[in-house]
Symmetry: C2
Subunit: 345 residues, 2 copies
C-alpha cells in the first residue's frame, strides 16, 4: 500500500508530544487532570504548508527527498480543549481535513455524523486561516464562528464564506471585540478565559484593509486556565510587538508566536518572492528588534515563559534540525512547533 | 514517526495502476509511447472525500478502523497529459495539496518554483471542484482557467475566486463554449482534442442557477487522442443521460462517469441527509433507468467501452470491496475508480 493510501486509510495518530508547561504547584485538593487545559498544534506551517506544492527551495526539496533533518507540517491551526472531547478550533486551515484525520480526538464518533469541533475562532481572514471553513460545510448545524467585525466583513464581502456556508450548514457569527472583554459562550471550555488582543500584522491581500489596516484585522489570544492560573499568549501573525503585546507575552507561561521567516529579506534572497517579511505582516526572527530579541527580553529572572514558534514558512532555515539558525534558537531557549504537539497548561 | 508525518515527509507515490484501454492496433510507424495519452485519477471521491471528516457511516467507520475491505479516496479530480510533464488539471479539489504530494509528476522540480500543472479546466463551480484553486495561489504566473460563462459567473459572484486570485497569482479566464467547438490553446497536449459537452446535473447550492439550471452549469468532456483514435467521455456529475450524452458514451472507448450514490434515497436511509440523489444532480447507480442500466446499454456487440465510476460518495456501498453492490457492478463489467489509477488511451 502506498504511503498516501495509509494516510487516508488509517485513523492515524500523530506523535503526541506532551508538554506540561508547569509541572509543580498544583493545588492538592483537585486531581491534576481537572486542572489541565490542552492546546494542540494541528498545523505549525505558514500558508502553503511544508513542503509547499510549487516550491523547490532547499527545505522543500530535502523534505520531498526524505532527508532526515526536516519534518513536514500542515498549515497554521491550533485546538483548545479541557475535556478532550470538545474543542475550540482556532483558525480553519486549507489542511483541515488532513488535520482531522491526523488528530482522531476531533472525530469522537458518538453519532452517525459527529465532530469534536464545538466552535471556531478566527484570528484573521487570511486564506490560510479561513479556507478550511468551506471543507466543514457538511456540518449538521450552523457553525458558531467567532470573529472580529473587521474579519467578518472580509468574510462577508471579498471572500464571502459567510454567505457561501449559508447554502450548506449555515453560520452563526459571534462577534469578537478587542476592548479587553473575554470571549463569551465557550461553555464547553471549563474555567478557561480567552481574550482577543488587537495587534499589528496585515489584513489579507484581498482585503480593502490590506494597505490601511483597521483594529481587529489581526488579533492574538490570551488564553487563561483559571484553575491552574496559567496563561498562554497565541499570535500566529505578528508584525510589530507593541508595548501591550509585550506585556501579554511577559505575563504568559507559554508564548506561541509568529516564527514565519528567519530574515526580513528571506523570500527575496531565495528568489521566491519580491516581498519582505514586514510587507506580509510578520516580524522576522533575526536582526535588531527581531522576534528573537523580543523573546529574549521576556521573563523577570524568577519566571520565564516557554517560547515556541508557530506559523513557520517553508523557506525558514529553522525548519532544518541541523541548521545554524536552529542552533541559535536553541541557545535562546526558543522551540519550533511541530504538528501534533500538545501543551498541557 | 506517525503515518501522517510520513505522508507529509515523503514524496510518496500512489499505487499507479496502468490501464491500457486498447492494447492492439497501434500503427507500426510510431513508437507506442508517442501514441499515449495519460488520464490519471487524482481523486475518485465525491465532495467530502472518503472518509468524510464528520461521517461515521459503516464505510467511514470501517475505513478509520483500518478494515481491509475499504480504501481511502480524495475528492474528485483528474489530470491529462501526453508528455508526462505538462498536465491539464480537470477540477481543483479541496484535496489538491495532498493530491500533488501523492502524484510527484505534478511537481517536476525544474526550477525553484515549479509545477507540472499547465492549465486548469473546470466542469462546474461546485465547492469540491473549485476550492483547490485557492491553494494554488502561490503560482508564479496567472493561471489559465478554462470554464463556461455560467461557471465563471459563479466564480465571479457567489464564490469570487477570480477576484480573490487576482490579489495573488492572477487568473486568465479562457472561455469554454458548449456549441461543439473543441477547447483551444492546450498546446502542451499533443494531438489531443477536448470538447465540452453540456449536460444535466446541478449548479452548486450557492449558485443562483441551482433551481433553474442554465446550459453550461455542468459539462462533461469528450477527450480524444487523435493519434490513437481513442475517445474518453468524462462526467463526474451527471443527473440525466440525454440522447446526445448517451451517444458520446456509446462512441467512447473509456467512460469515466458519475457513480456518486448507489440508490436514489441512500442519504436519507442512512440518516445522513434529507436529499435524494437527483436533488443533488446525480443519477443513482441502481434502479430503473439508473446508471447501471445506462452503462449496460452501451456497446454494439463488437465494441464496448470500458466503464469506470468516479465521484463516489462516502456512503456508497460499492466502496466496500466485498459488498453485494460491488459484486453487482463486477457482473456488469463496471469498475470503481481509485486514486492513482492511470489510463493510457
Amino acid at each position: 500500500m502506498s504511503i498516501s493510501g495509509l494516510a487516508l486509510k488509517s485513523r492515524c495518530t500523530s506523535p503526541i508530544v506532551n508538554h506540561t508547561v508547569f509541572k509543580g504547584a498544583r493545588p492538592r485538593f483537585l486531581p491534576g487532570t481537572l486542572l489541565s487545559m490542552k492546546i494542540k498544534i494541528l498545523g505549525s506551517a505558514a500558508g502553503g504548508g511544508f513542503p509547499q506544492w510549487n516550491c523547490n527551495c532547499p527545505n522543500c526539496r530535502d523534505l520531498r527527498n526524505d532527508a532526515p533533518n526536516v519534518t513536514g507540517r500542515t498549515q497554521s491551526s491550533i485546538a483548545v480543549s479541557t475535556n478532550g472531547q470538545d474543542w475550540l478550533l482556532v483558525n480553519a486551515s486549507p489542511d483541515i481535513l488532513q488535520q482531522i484525520r491526523n488528530n482522531p480526538e476531533l472525530q469522537p464518533a458518538r453519532h452517525i455524523r459527529d465532530t469534536g469541533i464545538a466552535a471556531i475562532l478566527l484570528t484573521d481572514a487570511q486564506i490560510d486561516h479561513v479556507t478550511g471553513l468551506l471543507m466543514l460545510r457538511e456540518h449538521a448545524r450552523p457553525w458558531p464562528i467567532y470573529a472580529t467585525p473587521s474579519v467578518w466583513h472580509d468574510l462577508s464581502t471579498g471572500f464571502p464564506i459567510a454567505n457561501l456556508l449559508s447554502h450548506y450548514c449555515g453560520v452563526e457569527h459571534r462577534r469578537l471585540d478587542t476592548d479587553g472583554q473575554p470571549v463569551g459562550g465557550l461553555d464547553f471550555l471549563d474555567q478557561v478565559r480567552i481574550t482577543p488582543v488587537p495587534l499589528k500584522s496585515k489584513a489579507p491581500p484581498y482585503s480593502p484593509n490590506r494597505t490601511q489596516g483597521k483594529v481587529g484585522d489581526n488579533i492574538g489570544l490570551l488564553i487563561e486556565n483559571l484553575r491552574s492560573g496559567k496563561r498562554v499568549f497565541y499570535a500566529p501573525g505578528l508584525g510589530e510587538v507593541e508595548p501591550a503585546i509585550r506585556q501579554h507575552m511577559q505575563q504568559a507561561d507559554l508564548v506561541l508566536v509568529d516564527g514565519t521567516l528567519w530574515a526580513e529579506d528571506e523570500m527575496i534572497r531565495l528568489g521566491l518572492s519580491g516581498k519582505k517579511s514586514s510587507d506580509m505582516g510578520h516580524l522576522a526572527l533575526s536582526g535588531t528588534g527581531g522576534m528573537i530579541e523580543v523573546l529574549d527580553s521576556l521573563g523577570d529572572g524568577t519566571r520565564t515563559p516557554r517560547k515556541v514558534l508557530v506559523h513557520i514558512n517553508n523557506s525558514n532555515p529553522v525548519l532544518r534540525h541541523d541548521s545554524p539558525e536552529r542552533a541559535t534558537l536553541q541557545r535562546h531557549n526558543i522551540e519550533v512547533a511541530e504538528d501534533g504537539m500538545v501543551f498541557e497548561v
